[in-house]
Amino acid sequence: MNYWPLLGIAIVVVGFALRFNPLLVVVGAALATGVLAGLDLVAVIEALGKAFNDNRYISVTWIILPVIGLLERYGLQQRARAVIENLRGATMGKFLTVYLLFRQVTAAIGMKDIGGHPQAVRPLVAPMAEAAAEKTHGSLSEGDREKVLAMSAATDNVGLFFGEDIFFAIASILLIQGVFESYGYPLTPLQLSVWAIPTAICAFIIHGWRIHALDRRLGRVAA
């Protein structure tokens, strides 16, 4: 077997580790992998161009930026903070745990497009988490502030990933079904999606605990 195409993976790992521009790393890896697999350079460039073109739908989401930017111009982030500041007993731990549950439950019933980073995390969730943390711990150091913002994004991801598979009509469930069916194991989407529930519960417990651990740690640093 020709193991040389694996060099493309090595390029990705080393390139990211050395902090080269990720676009350069990715295209370098693609060209190297294709050529090492015995394709000629023109064919690799064609494959790259075709795949980039076929995946344009991924970058369509940026058309939301004018909406978010416009509302931020009129104080959306400040409004999100004000809601938390006026909410008695709100802590970052409680707020992000509620958001985690909300994201898991809505994704589980098929509403995975509620939430997301440009629409929800940047304008709403992150400023609210920051305001809640400041309410308990006073103003945050730059390092702590970054941790709170990053945890907000992380919570959106964990909630989405470990909620969406409970919904039976989702791409990943259909993929699992398709693969098993091609090997002669017919499964229904529902048979698969119920088995996403134990992991979803573990994810809620583990990530919820980590959110609270971060909240407590912020307190210690401030004290």
Binding site: N2, P5, L6, G8, V12, R19, P22, L23, V26, V27, A30, T33, I45, A47, G49, K50, A51, F52, N53, R56, I58, S59, V60, W62, I63, I64, L65, P66, V67, I68, G69, L70, L71, E72, R73, Y74, Q78, R79, D113, I114, H117, Q119, A126, E146, A150, M151, A153, F161, S172, L175, I176, Q177, V179, F180, Y183, Y185, W195, T199, C202, I206
Partner: protein
């Protein structure tokens, strides 16, 4: 029938505006980069694969040479925003809800009412098309209500776009890398290697290698979807299901979730891990991943236990 092509033209026009505004702002690198992306959206379907490939190489060249700069179009100050926030109150949230509500409620209506029979949208494309419609409605509503100057939405959008910069097309580029990997047979090589390291006779260790393979291959590809068919074909189906008689539903469903734990730990999953770091303007590009590793590893262990217990101990 409305197809993705309509959406691509719309998106292309947005990027044309951003390219022109960048040029006016004296940022030629940004203008070239967003201009090329606009070209990809507007004419990508009508030119050859090779031309699309050259387009990609040109964009990567611009980004690689560091010609993409942050921009700072005029906007409101922090104090002004406080005043607006107090005056406009919680109504400010309503336009923000237009987009998700249009996408989610529209998808549900389209799929579960006779509306779907009209064939208005291309099959299985309705959510993203409705998202596009939601964006247009939200811009119009915000413009009518808040009455900023006409270029405000474009300039505010450009401020955010340039803070994301090259990371904006990284997810799309990684999807293209996945396609090249598939063409070069990388999945088969990895599957073969994973199949070779399995110790014979141990169900538990085979479960561990399967779940580990899912996580690691997902980290490499940035996507559990690419890893799943490979690992299922190499280990999941021939060994766990056929040799050891495990429950296929558990192996499939939880195997995929073990891959999702890998997604939390890799910069290759750019739209979940790198783009948010840029959107939140974090100094540490890997800041989001750093917060996720502590969740991903224990959760991966839970998945191993769930497969072992659910697919073998409870099944036989």
């Amino acid at each position: 029938m409305i197809t993705y092509e309509w959406l691509y033209v719309l998106t292309g026009l947005f990027f044309v505006v951003w390219a022109v505004l960048s040029l006016r702002d004296g940022k030629r690198g940004n203008a070239a980069f967003w201009g090329l992306l606009a070209a990809s959206f507007l004419i990508g379907s009508h030119v050859s694969d090779f031309v699309n490939g050259l387009l990609v190489l040109a964009m990567v060249g611009i980004a690689g040479l560091g010609l993409l700069k942050r921009s700072d179009p005029p906007t409101t100050s922090g104090e002004e925003r406080q005043v607006f926030s107090a005056r406009l109150g919680n109504r400010l949230f309503l336009p923000a809800l237009i987009v998700p509500v249009t996408a989610v409620a529209g998808t549900l209506l389209y799929n579960y009412t006779p509306l779907g029979e009209t064939g208005l949208f291309a099959e299985r494309r309705e959510t993203l098309i409705l998202f596009g419609i939601g964006v247009l409605v939200a811009i119009v509503v915000a413009m009518v209500w808040l009455k900023p100057h006409l270029l405000a939405p474009a300039e505010e959008g450009r401020r955010l776009l340039d803070s994301i910069g090259w990371a904006g097309i990284l997810p799309q580029m990684l999807a293209a890398l996945g396609a090249v990997f598939a063409l070069a047979g990388v999945g088969d090589i990895i599957g073969g290697l994973a199949g070779d390291v399995i110790p014979k006779g141990s169900v538990f260790l085979t479960v561990v290698v399967f779940a580990l393979g899912m996580a690691i291959f997902t980290m490499i590809m940035g996507n559990a979807f690419a890893a799943f068919p490979v690992m299922a074909a190499a280990i999941g189906i021939p060994l766990l299901v056929e040799t050891y008689g495990g429950n296929p539903a558990v192996i499939g469903a939880v195997g995929m979730l073990a891959g999702f734990c890998g997604t939390l730990m890799t910069p290759m999953a750019a739209n979940f891990n790198i783009v948010p770091a840029a959107l939140l303007e974090l100094k540490d590009q890997n800041g989001v991943i750093r917060q996720q590793v502590g969740t991903a590893i224990p959760l991966w262990l839970c998945n191993v236990a769930i497969i072992y217990v659910g697919a073998f101990l409870l099944w036989s």
